[in-house]
């Protein structure tokens, strides 16, 4: 339960990298430029990172033309503590992809049997009234009769 919240920024970053990779893979190679670094220089060879806030612009070419996203992340003691992503996609397609990327974390889920989970409640669409169910049954019967 708690683990997801604790790892949120790291997960967000990985989701982001995957998406930029996926978008650039279908066209020209992505290039990155350091547009601003505050608080120190990044990455030494042994994998120790200098604390600070880093902003990187990713450029890629999508079928809709040149696109870019700005990714700002904060490192503290080798941990990512904050991630901000700003997209500049102009076409509806890019807006949609970047929107999905910026808004939240995207994932493919697998269903688990509810009766094997220990939960107090199940949240799904509201149960339908008897009248509605009967009407749907009637439509099905009509459709079969035709």
């Amino acid at each position: 339960m708690r683990s997801l919240a604790d790892n949120k920024t790291a997960t967000a970053l990985f989701a982001g990298i995957t998406l930029v990779g996926a978008l650039s893979a279908c066209s020209s190679p992505a290039t990155g430029t350091d547009s601003s670094v505050t608080g120190g220089a990044p990455a030494t060879a042994n994998g120790t990172y200098t604390d600070g806030t880093y902003t990187e612009t990713g450029n890629y070419t999508s079928p809709n033309g040149a696109e870019k996203v700005d990714v700002t992340l904060t490192l503290e003691s080798n941990l990512i503590t904050d991630v901000t992503v700003v997209g500049f996609g102009e076409s509806p397609n890019s807006k949609q992809y970047q929107g999905q990327f910026i808004n939240g974390i995207a994932a493919i889920v697998v269903g688990k049997n509810i009766d094997k989970l220990s939960v107090d409640k199940v949240a799904g669409s509201s149960l339908t009234s008897g009248g509605f169910t009967k009407a749907v049954d009637a439509i099905k019967a009509d459709a079969l009769a035709k």
Binding site: T11, K112, N113, G124, S126
Partner: protein
């Protein structure tokens, strides 16, 4: 409590002839609403703006024409009327609604959540402490023990896609899976008058069930980042592709 629910139904139900909403639908005029109306209209107004007109209380006629009427005829009519824009059909002054056309209001997207809040309020006034008000699909929790809530898979209701923890909050789920007929369902985009198809389930967690219910519907039409500029909430939503998107600050676990 039952009296409170009956009051609400008599004002807002689209399915009964003696309701205020049915009276309004018969002729344009100015109508006075009960004291519970302002938060509901205010929420609808904010969501109408945040979803760029996709979410509207004016979808009542379109729902009826698609067959979602009081007799559940579930037979779409041959012609569908355009859903009017808010400004051309309604003005709300905080206590009175003036309609410029015979507007059929449908508050289905947030009304049930709001009624959950109102029932919880009745319980609070009567000194009830720890409370869970569950209206199927929408609930509010108040108490010291969090609720563990499974997120039902919209395509297989025996399965869950995750578990979240809810405490002193409201949570609402929305999905067309149980209210679908003839290839149609009940969540309409007011701009087209037709059901949405990109998103197949949403869950929203907010301070009130009114907000959570409205946001669960709004997530079918608007990007979460757009809604987040206006509302504070956590969410999960599932696309028709099976992909799931969720807030970075979700208090829970998804089975990824």
């Amino acid at each position: 409590m039952h009296a409170r629910i009956e009051d609400f139904d008599r004002t807002y139900s689209r399915f009964r002839d003696d309701s205020l909403v049915s009276t309004i639908a018969r002729a344009p005029n100015t109508y006075r609403f009960p004291a519970d109306a302002p938060p509901l209209f205010e929420l609808y107004r904010r969501l109408y703006i945040a979803t760029k007109g996709a979410m509207s209380p004016l979808v009542g006629r379109a729902l009826e024409e698609l067959g979602y009427d009081r007799t559940y005829s579930l037979q779409p009519s041959a012609t569908l009327t355009r859903v009017p824009e808010w400004q051309e059909a309604l003005s709300w002054n905080g206590s009175e609604l003036t309609t410029h056309t015979p507007a059929l209001l449908d508050i289905g997207a947030a009304g049930k959540g709001y009624l959950v809040d109102l029932v919880a309020e009745v319980l609070r006034e009567h000194g009830v402490g720890a409370t869970t008000v569950d209206a199927s699909g929408d609930f509010l929790h108040r108490g010291e023990t969090p609720l563990r809530v499974a997120l039902e898979h919209p395509l297989d209701v025996s399965k869950a896609i995750g578990v979240v923890s809810v405490q002193n909050q409201a949570m609402c789920a929305s999905a067309p899976n149980r209210r679908a007929w003839a290839g149609l369902h009940h969540i309409l985009d007011a701009r087209t008058g037709l059901p949405t198809d990109r998103i197949i389930a949403t869950w929203a967690i907010a301070a009130t069930a009114l907000e959570a219910d409205g946001l669960a519907t709004a997530l079918f039409f608007a990007e979460p980042a757009e809604l987040a500029t206006e509302f504070e909430f956590q969410y999960v939503r599932m696309f028709s592709t099976g992909r799931v998107e969720y807030s970075p600050d979700l208090n829970g676990e998804l089975f990824v």
